[in-house]
Subunit: 132 residues, 2 copies
């Protein structure tokens, strides 16, 4: 049972990552996230700087809501949009994990280079010593 | 002239972010990146763990190459794939920027909460003092 739950959790995490990365793959949607990262805002405020119809911006907002990156709540008659930072944390976590992998590889390469350098430094000395 | 160059650079950075995020929006492609983050590998090695045709995996690899995340070089008859870490750095940089925005907001909220708490702590004391 625990294994099934763990597998379900992994599957939904995968689906969330798919949705968040797809949501981020568009410059208008990234600009909306940048706007909302500074402060929550009404739909009309978010749409204002874009040179496109309110309807077109609303479609992008719906994609962001479906991915879980953007949340909507009502304040009287207004629809207020805000960022759900946890959704981006998950994406950040994935990239961090990749970074750790290749930083380990870079460290290993550096160690190798240092050893090669040390061998090289010893090498000429040894030869010098040998020629005396 | 400098402005045009700067605008061109911004446009190509936007296009790269679009391509990288779109490339990451697929679990097979993310798994390929995880594999290559551990070590570079031949195309056939990369394809092996997946329950799909070499052709299907090759299509995913081409998407990753087009986005700049994966690079290919030849070693004799083999095609070796590796990660271009700079492409993911750019994506990471974008997410970091968003994080800074909302961390500033969270800090501001915390300051506000601390002040409210201080006011509350002062409040009852003042009342107590007043009732003596």
């Amino acid at each position: 049972m625990i294994e099934i739950e763990a597998r379900k959790e992994a599957a939904s995490r995968t689906a969330r990552l798919d949705a968040v990365f797809a949501a981020l793959a568009d410059p208008t949607r990234r600009a909306i996230i940048e706007r909302l990262s500074r402060s929550e805002a009404r739909v009309t405020e978010v749409a204002e700087p874009f040179n496109m119809s309110l309807n077109a911006v609303s479609k992008h907002i719906r994609v962001l809501e479906a991915s879980g990156v953007v949340e909507r709540h009502r304040k009287g008659r207004d629809h207020i949009l805000s960022i759900n930072t946890r959704s981006l944390d998950e994406v950040d976590g994935w990239i961090e994990r990749m970074r750790r992998y290749w930083e380990e590889r870079l460290d290993a390469m550096e160690r190798l280079l240092r050893e090669l350098k040390k061998d090289n430094e010893l090498g000429p000395k040894d030869r010098k010593h040998g020629s005396r």
